[in-house]
């Protein structure tokens, strides 16, 4: 891509957000946390994939899916199937009545590997399946719904029902899926022990790398014409349709994209945590994923990452010390995020924090800048929404003698 293209993809205003996030994830967290906590952070980051997909689907496209756990779970289970097959080679499983098949199949009196498990001996197939199967399912669901112009609330309820169906299916068919315990005891990836500390470090960085890849794809979608069409569709679907666009195809595409993001997140979850279970698939986790996105800000892909990190961090620290408070806090968060700050953390940042930072930066830069640019900065700092009078006075007092000094020079 040309420099021009990159510049339009990452305008100056937004690139700082990416840089701060990159520094935080690549430098600050690995240096300040021990491997256990870092692994937890990696686990939370896998939810961020889902949240980014939801920003595109829900924030931009206006499609609220309550079934993202389905895709997260699919990605996770497909990865877990590969790892489980690798973990249950005939030598380690020789005490079973049928060696060479996963332990839960043996417990459920299954004597041969089911046909749909067989391709998962192949790693390339697994990777392809993680990317393609969720996309196909999302396409089928999306096509069936959006071609018939079903949207909004109905779509939310039906995706939720799909999440319920998949959970019941996984729990009911425990011979094939491991049932309510899920797939546990995953050890190696292509012979590489994923449970060692070193592997956890590497997987964390792989996760961060993939996260940025998804962020860039999402940013590309946002900045493209497609992103603007999505917003237009969300606000006035009929007008976009009357302008000659095929609205349903756009919706299907963004839903599939969200599904693939979620599946990547699920696969990375399995790799970092070492198990996959139906508790990560159903209705409750799916709707919690929406709250990560809502807390971060439904229109901000970077906010979604912070939302996923913060809510999960709050969840584990609160439920460690006050298990009873956690549900109250989460419930309150749902209500507050809808009633008080619908644009989430990103909204709070742009209304309250960003103007202050801008002013502070302007004050900081003032003495060093030559005159014309100074004027420009002062101009840009002026229309900040509702500047607090106190800050204004301090700023003016601080700035005026210095400005005079510059003028004298």
């Amino acid at each position: 891509m040309s420099y021009q293209g990159l510049a339009s993809l990452f305008p100056k205003k937004e690139i700082s957000g990416f840089l701060v996030l990159a520094v935080l994830l690549v430098v600050v967290l690995p240096l300040s946390l021990d491997i256990f906590r870092l692994n937890l952070m990696g686990k939370y980051l896998t939810y961020a994939f889902v949240a980014i997909g939801l920003v595109l689907c829900w924030g931009y496209g206006g499609i609220l899916s309550l079934g993202q756990g389905v895709f997260f779970g699919l990605g996770g289970y497909l990865m877990a199937m590969f790892l489980k097959l690798e973990a249950s080679d005939p030598i380690t499983t020789k005490i079973q009545s049928t060696p060479g098949i996963p332990d839960f199949m043996d417990w459920n009196q299954i004597t041969a590997l089911p046909f749909f498990w067989k391709p998962f001996y192949s790693f390339p197939f697994t990777i392809a399946a993680i990317l393609i199967i969720p996309a196909i399912i999302a396409y089928l669901v999306g096509a069936a719904m959006f071609k018939r112009r079903v949207g909004g609330v109905y779509f939310a309820i039906i995706t939720q029902a799909i999440a319920a169906i998949l959970t019941i299916l996984i729990i009911g068919q425990q011979g094939y899926t491991g049932g309510v315990n899920g797939m546990t005891d995953l050890r190696t990836l292509l012979g590489w022990d994923i449970r060692s500390d070193q592997a956890k470090y590497i997987l964390y960085f792989v996760c961060v790398g993939m996260l940025f890849l998804c962020l860039f794809v999402a940013q590309f979608v946002r900045k493209s014409k497609f992103g603007r069409l999505l917003v237009a569709m969300r606000d006035k679907e009929d007008r976009v349709r009357f302008s000659g666009y095929d609205v349903s195809n756009f919706k299907i595409f963004v839903f599939c994209l969200g599904a693939v993001f979620a599946a990547i997140g699920g696969a990375l979850f399995t790799l970092q945590v070492g198990f996959m279970s139906p508790t990560l698939v159903g209705i409750v986790p799916s709707i919690e994923m929406v709250i990560f996105c809502a807390v971060g800000g439904r229109m901000s892909i970077i906010g979604a990452v912070y939302g996923a990190l913060l809510v999960n961090w709050a969840k584990s620290s609160l439920s460690e010390s006050f298990p009873e408070l956690w549900l109250f806090a989460l419930g309150g968060l749902f209500i507050a995020v809808v009633m008080a700050f619908p644009n989430g953390l990103a909204g709070l940042y742009t209304t309250y924090v960003a103007p202050k930072i801008k002013q502070w930066l302007a004050d900081f830069k003032t003495p060093k800048q030559p005159k014309p640019q100074l004027e420009a900065i002062k101009e840009s700092a002026k229309p900040a929404p509702r500047p607090e009078p106190k800050v204004q006075t301090i700023g003016n007092l601080g700035a005026s003698p210095l400005t005079q000094g510059v003028l004298h020079e």
């Binding site: 309820i157 209705i283 989460l330 209500i335 809808v338």
Partner: protein, 308 residues
């Protein structure tokens, strides 16, 4: 599949499963009626609907305890009072929730969904803190226990029959209220065109609040009826919410008759299939079937023809 059963056996199986299906149907109707009013008529997605039902169940549990301790002579009658109290408690909470949360979100349906989900989490934790995490059950009065023997092979449980009568009574009452009363006309007017209804002098805010409270109150009665069939725990409500929404959507959200028809279809399909396969597979197939039909016919079985 049928080879190992004789004809009369098969007949009894279908009769018994049919009655089991009818009881499940009554339960679905009770669950869905409140939601059909709130979601179908008002367009509000109340994810806390299950928790309102559980409130009714806990109120019944408390009433039974009070009667057991203080008024053992009147114990056989407590259930009637419990249902009234459940209606009042759930309805009052519903009015409060409408005032506090829902009325600010009428034009943002997806946000209502999230807010009421948050409410459901708070209610669940409240129940857990107050009543404990264990499931509780009530002692039924004698006249609700036992079963009626129809023939050699067919027996009908009395509490099931009671739930069926209750469902019939409440749906008739709601039907009359919605389609034969002045208030029902107002509700339907507000639903179809809010500004216009306001312009002709209907107090839309008041209609909204009463409608929401009524829907929640019916959920409370449904919860009260549930205590006859199973025990109640803090998270029981969540188990029902998907089923209930599917019943309402499948029937065509704006039609009460549709809700009843879809509750019938879903419950019969599920209970008949449950006999031949595991419960979870029956559930999966039923849900898949409903989702599939909804994809073919998104507006549901019955629709209201309105010029927009």
């Amino acid at each position: 599949m049928f080879a190992e059963y004789s004809t009369s056996d098969l007949l009894s199986i279908f009769a018994m499963q049919g009655v089991a299906g009818l009881i499940l149907f009554s339960v679905f109707v009770l669950m869905a009626l409140g939601l059909a009013i709130i979601f179908g008529q008002m367009g509000v997605i109340n994810m806390a609907h299950g928790e309102f039902m559980i409130l009714g169940a806990y109120v019944t549990y408390l009433t039974s305890h009070v009667f057991e301790t203080y008024l053992p002579s009147l114990f056989s009658l407590y259930f009637i009072l419990a249902m009234v109290l459940a209606f009042i408690a759930a309805g009052a909470l519903g009015a409060l929730v409408e005032w506090g949360i829902i009325r600010h979100l009428y034009n943002r349906p997806l946000d209502t969904l999230l807010a009421t989900w948050g409410l459901s989490l708070i209610l669940q934790q409240t129940y857990r803190s107050v009543f404990g995490a264990r499931e509780v059950g009530v002692t039924l009065p004698d006249w609700l226990m036992g079963s009626v023997k129809v023939s050699e092979t067919i027996e009908l449980p009395i509490n099931g029959l009671f739930v069926m009568c209750l469902a019939l009574g409440i749906s008739t009452a709601v039907g009359i209220l919605m389609y034969r009363s002045r208030w029902g006309t107002q509700v339907r007017a507000v639903v179809q065109n809010r500004p216009m209804a306001g312009a002709v002098g209907i107090n839309t805010a008041k209609v909204d609040r009463i409608t929401f409270a009524l829907g929640c109150g019916i959920a409370g009665v449904a919860g009260s009826a549930f205590t006859m069939i199973g025990s109640t725990g803090p998270t029981s409500g969540q188990l029902y919410i998907v089923d209930t929404f599917l019943v309402v959507v499948f029937g065509g959200a704006t039609s009460l008759l549709g809700t009843i028809a879809s509750a019938f279809t879903i419950s019969q399909a599920q209970s008949t299939m449950e006999f031949f396969m595991s419960g979870s597979m029956a559930k999966v197939l039923t849900l898949l079937f409903v989702v599939f039909i909804l994809m073919l016919r998104p507006q549901g079985l019955f629709t209201l023809k309105v010029r927009r």
